[in-house]
Amino acid sequence: MAGAAVLGRLTPLAWRLAEAVEIVPETPRASTLVLDVPDWPGHRAGQHVDVRLTAEDGYQAQRSYSIASAPEEAGLALTVERLDDGEVSPYLVGELRPGDRFELRGPIGGYFVWEAGTAGSLHLVGGGSGLVPLMAMLRHRAAAGGGTPTRLLLSARSLQDVLYRDELEQLAAENGDLRVALTLTRERPPGWTGYDRRVDEAMLAEVFGPPAADGLAFVCGPTRFVEAAASGLVALGYDPSRVRTERFGPTGG
């Protein structure tokens, strides 16, 4: 480990100029930025990047965003949710157009990552845009042949807030080893038969079943969501060292 750190010191994480190739609206508040990043070194599913914007007078702002694309995909995709009181996200979701460029560096983070072929099942719990790094894992899994038994529990405020809904349905339809459960916490369409409450222990037990001896669980979302979901998994008997979390607060962006 010390050797890796020494080696790492010689290879700083350089700022690169990313160009927006395509901007895909996902929900009323979130868009996917498909980027061309020259000399992108590649990433692992679950990692994130730092984005740095510079104003004409030199003022700069930085934020972190999760990578949505699989390592196998050509373009680097970030899905960004616009926060109304945010500083960077309203620019990325609203002002940015194809052909615009901005600075980015990464990939960052080596713990909240999943590699296809990892032994055991893959259990994913996402709240809102916390789905983004989990989607990179699902896309990576599909690109690698989709053999890992996988379950996703996704919590969203309403159906229209669900990111990648069509793609999730398609992935689950194509692969019997992937099951997707959805809970809508604020607004349900007429006739909704899915979950209609915040994630709790009973829901986790129904979706994920008893803990397996191997495999990994990844939980990403706002702090309260992650606290509830991760504590719930531990209460169900999951080994805490096999539950990996990534959290974002209500502020930022």
Binding site: A2, L13, T54, A55, Q62, S64, F112, T245, T251
Partner: protein, 202 residues
């Protein structure tokens, strides 16, 4: 010269904050939480804080009651998270680390903080002495909440906040620097926010 992003203006900093917010950071009023795994809940009856020699020998150990009987200080300080948020004028209560080391005979160059949940982080010894580091047990006048590191966390506010290890249970004295959890995963060995030492090579 950094690349100018067309149409980006940004939100300018309150002049009162200038000089207090390191490069690349923005200020928040709430208290975001970042952890790699579930929040541990260690009962106070089994909690202890230890100073461990590089050989593995336990040099000092305090139970929760013994630890809380130590003289503590109130600290008002700014904190800076590597994920870009800074929080100004946070108020903590804790035991200065130099007080925990004062009866320990040692000539270590570094310490590795270890925690419930398996988290570790490395620090030069000189960075946890002289009123620069505390083992904090209260925030804003209240017992430290588990999600913020309670019952006790390290507080080393002059470094990025991942160095202020949550759920800390002791310090291992080291002759040579050894990367902790995040430091082995690409984060800077030292982590000075004013030099923007976020990742390897910064």
């Amino acid at each position: 010269m950094a690349f100018v992003s067309r149409g980006f203006r940004g939100r300018r900093r309150d002049p009162a904050e200038s000089g207090r917010v390191p490069p690349g950071q923005y200020t928040v009023d709430d208290f975001p939480v970042l952890s790699a795994g579930p929040t541990p809940h260690t009962p106070l009856e089994v909690w202890s804080f230890s100073i461990i020699a590089s050989s593995g020998d336990v040099l000092r150990r305090w139970s929760w009651d013994e630890f809380r009987a130590l003289p503590s200080e109130t600290v008002t300080t700014d904190i800076h998270c590597v994920t870009k948020w800074s929080k100004l004028d946070t108020v903590w209560e804790g035991v200065p680390v130099e007080r925990l080391l004062e009866d320990v005979e040692q000539d270590a160059g570094y310490v590795l903080a270890f925690c419930d949940g398996g988290y570790t982080t490395n620090l030069p010894l000189e960075d946890v002495l002289d009123g620069q580091a505390w083992v904090a047990f209260a925030y804003d006048g209240e017992p430290l909440e588990p999600e913020h590191g309670g019952p006790a966390r390290l507080l080393v506010p002059h470094l990025y906040f991942w160095k202020s290890a949550k759920w800390v249970r002791g310090l291992r004295l080291l002759d040579e620097d050894e990367p902790g959890f995040w430091e082995a995963l690409g984060y800077h060995l030292y982590g000075d926010p004013w030099r923007e030492q976020r990742y390897w090579g910064d």
